[in-house]
C-alpha cells in the first residue's frame, strides 16, 4: 500500500486529467467520518476552497473578487499521486477548467490562435 503525506504530497499539488491537461490545484481536502476514523472524501478546487486558508480580512476580499465557487473531485476519481495528482476522467466531465475553456473559446475567434 502506498503511504501518502496528505499535507506535502496532495495539498497544493497540481491536478492533471486523464489526458495530462492541467486542471487546477488541490486547494483543500474534504474528509468523511468512518468507523475507522476520517478518510479523504474529495479534493476541493477553486476560490471557495482556498479562501478558507486565508486570514479573515483577506478571505472577505478574495470572496468579493473571485466568488466562492469550488468543485469537489471525489477521491475515487484519483488514479495516482506522484508529483501531480492524476485523475481518471477528463477535466470537463468533472467540472474542472471551465473558465479556461471559456476563455479559450473566446480566443479561438482570433487569427493564429
Amino acid at each position: 500500500m502506498k503511504r501518502l503525506d496528505l499535507m506535502r504530497e496532495v495539498l497544493d499539488q497540481e491536478i492533471v486529467d486523464v489526458d495530462g491537461v492541467a486542471c487546477g490545484m488541490v486547494d483543500d481536502l474534504e474528509f468523511r467520518d468512518t468507523p475507522q476514523g476520517p478518510v479523504v472524501a474529495a479534493l476541493l478546487v477553486g476560490p471557495g476552497a482556498w479562501q478558507t486558508r486565508l486570514p479573515a480580512l483577506l478571505r472577505v476580499l478574495a470572496r468579493w473578487v473571485f466568488g466562492d465557487g469550488r468543485v469537489p473531485v471525489p477521491w475515487s476519481e484519483v488514479k495516482d499521486v506522484d508529483e501531480r495528482v492524476q485523475l481518471k476522467s477528463k477535466a470537463e466531465a468533472l467540472g474542472l477548467g471551465v473558465l479556461d475553456r471559456r476563455v479559450g473559446a473566446w480566443l479561438r475567434r482570433l487569427p493564429k490562435s
Binding site: E14, C23, D27, G97, L107, R108
Partner: protein, 411 residues
C-alpha cells in the same frame, strides 16, 4: 546538445542585466561611486547563476517550474503573497520597458511619446502572439547582443584598470559623510537586487520546460547560465565604466536611456549610436516580454492552469489572457506619464523582498535527493545556495529601511 538554448540564457540575462532600470542604475552607480560597487556586480552575478542553474536543473529533471515549488514549499498564504509581490514587480518592470521602447522610438522618429506607447503595445501583442518561443529567444537574445558596443566603447575610453580591479575587492566605502555611506549601501542592495531579479529565475525555468529539457540537458543548462549571465554582467560592468569614464567627468547624471548611447556615439560616431539604440531596443523589448510572460507563468503555475507559449492560446486560455493583460496594464500605467526609470528603480528595490521566498523553495527541492536523485545539489551548490539565501535575506531586511533613509536613493 542544442546550442540554440544559449539564447534562452542570453535573453534571460539581458532582461535582467540591461533592462531600462539596471541600465540607468549602473550608469548612475558609476557616476556616483566610481568602480567601488563592482564587487556587488560580481557577487550578484554568481548568485543569479547559482539559482538559475538550480531552477533550470529542476526543470530538466522534474519538469517543475518555480511557482509550483513556491506554493508547495512556502505554503499557500506565503506563496500567494509572493505571487502578488512578484507579479507587481513584473507589471511595473514591464511598464518601464514598454516606456523605454517608446522613448527609443521617439528618439529615432521624433513622434510623440503616447501614440508610440500604443504602437509598442501592438508590437508586443503581435510579437508574442505570432512568434514561437524559440524565435522569441533567438530574435531578442541575438538582437540584444548589439549592446556589446557598450563594452567596446568602454574599452576605447581607456579605463583605469587598477581602479577596475580594486572595485572587485569588497571594502568599506570611501564616501563623504554618513549620508553618502547610507547611499552607498542603498546602491549596493539595489544593485544586488537588480542583478538577482526574481523574474529571471521564473522565466528561465519555465523557458527550460517550454524547450522540453530533459536530464540530458543538465550540462547544457550549466553552460547556458554561465555564458548568458557572464555576458550580462560584462555589459553591466561596461555601463558602470561608461558612468565613471564618460559621464562623471562631464558632470552628466544620466536619467534617460537615450543618454547612455552618448558614450558609444562618442567612441564610434553614428554607427555606435545606432548600435546602442538598437541593442537597447532589443534588450528592453526582451525584458518586456520576459516580465509579461513571467507574470503569466507565475499565475498559471500557482493556480494549476494549462500554460506555455508552445500551447495554442485556445488551449491555454487564461495563460494567454494573463500576458495580454500584463502588456495592456503596463501600457495603461505608462500612459499616465509616470517616469519609467523611476518606476523600475522602485520595483527593483521592492523585488529584493520577494527573493528569499522565491529562492528558498528552489534550494529545498534542489537539495532533496528523494526528488532530484543523483542530480541533487552537491556540496558546492548547497553551500553557495545557503550563502546566497542568507545574503538576500539580509538584503531584503535592509532594503526598505535604506530606501526611506536615502529618500529612494536621492541622498
Amino acid at each position: 546538445m542544442n546550442f540554440g538554448e544559449i539564447f534562452l540564457g542570453i535573453l534571460t540575462a539581458m532582461g535582467g542585466f540591461v533592462e531600462i532600470g539596471e541600465l540607468t542604475f549602473s550608469l548612475n552607480a558609476g557616476t556616483h561611486f566610481g568602480y567601488q560597487l563592482l564587487w556587488i556586480t560580481a557577487l550578484g552575478t554568481v548568485g543569479i547563476m547559482v539559482y538559475c542553474e538550480m531552477a533550470g536543473r529542476i526543470a530538466a529533471v522534474r519538469q517543475r517550474p518555480v511557482f509550483t515549488l513556491i506554493r508547495e514549499r512556502d505554503g499557500f498564504s506565503a506563496g500567494l503573497a509572493t505571487l502578488v509581490a512578484a507579479n507587481l514587480v513584473n507589471l511595473l518592470t514591464c511598464t518601464a520597458e514598454i516606456g523605454g521602447v517608446a522613448m527609443l522610438w521617439q528618439l529615432l522618429s521624433g513622434w510623440p511619446y503616447r501614440p508610440l506607447l500604443l504602437l509598442a503595445l501592438l508590437f508586443f501583442l503581435a510579437t508574442v502572439w505570432l512568434l514561437k518561443f524559440e524565435w522569441i529567444e533567438r530574435v531578442f537574445g541575438l538582437g540584444g547582443l548589439m549592446m556589446i558596443v557598450f563594452i567596446a566603447a568602454w574599452w576605447k575610453l581607456g579605463p583605469d584598470w587598477s581602479a577596475v580591479g580594486a572595485g572587485f575587492v569588497p571594502r568599506w566605502p570611501q564616501t563623504e559623510g554618513k549620508r553618502d555611506t547610507l547611499l552607498y549601501f542603498y546602491y549596493a542592495v539595489a544593485l544586488l537586487s537588480s542583478i538577482m531579479l526574481p523574474y529571471e529565475t521564473y522565466f528561465y525555468a519555465s523557458g527550460g520546460i517550454e524547450d522540453k529539457w530533459t536530464p540530458k540537458d543538465i550540462g547544457m543548462n550549466r553552460m547556458v547560465v554561465v555564458v548568458g549571465f557572464a555576458l550580462g554582467s560584462a555589459l553591466s560592468v561596461a555601463l558602470v565604466g561608461a558612468g565613471v569614464e564618460f559621464f562623471a567627468p562631464r558632470h552628466v547624471d544620466p536619467q534617460l536611456p537615450g543618454t547612455a548611447a552618448l558614450s558609444t556615439a562618442h567612441a564610434y560616431g553614428r554607427l555606435g549610436l545606432y548600435l546602442a539604440l538598437l541593442g537597447m531596443f532589443f534588450a528592453f523589448a526582451g525584458a518586456a516580454i520576459e516580465t509579461a510572460l513571467s507574470g503569466a507563468y507565475n499565475l498559471a503555475q500557482f493556480a494549476g492552469w494549462p500554460w506555455g507559449k508552445e500551447k495554442r492560446p485556445r488551449d491555454a486560455g487564461r495563460f494567454a489572457l494573463s500576458w495580454i493583460v500584463v502588456f495592456i496594464g503596463g501600457t495603461l500605467i505608462a500612459l499616465t506619464g509616470v517616469d519609467p526609470v523611476q518606476v523600475v528603480e522602485y520595483s527593483i528595490v521592492f523585488s529584493v523582498v520577494v527573493l528569499p521566498f522565491s529562492y528558498f523553495p528552489v534550494l529545498m527541492v534542489a537539495n532533496d535527493r528523494r526528488i532530484m536523485g543523483k542530480h541533487a545539489n552537491g556540496p558546492i551548490a548547497k553551500a553557495l545556495g545557503w550563502f546566497y539565501l542568507v545574503l538576500i535575506t539580509l538584503a531584503a531586511l535592509a532594503a526598505i529601511p535604506l530606501f526611506f533613509a536615502t529618500h529612494g536613493g536621492q541622498g
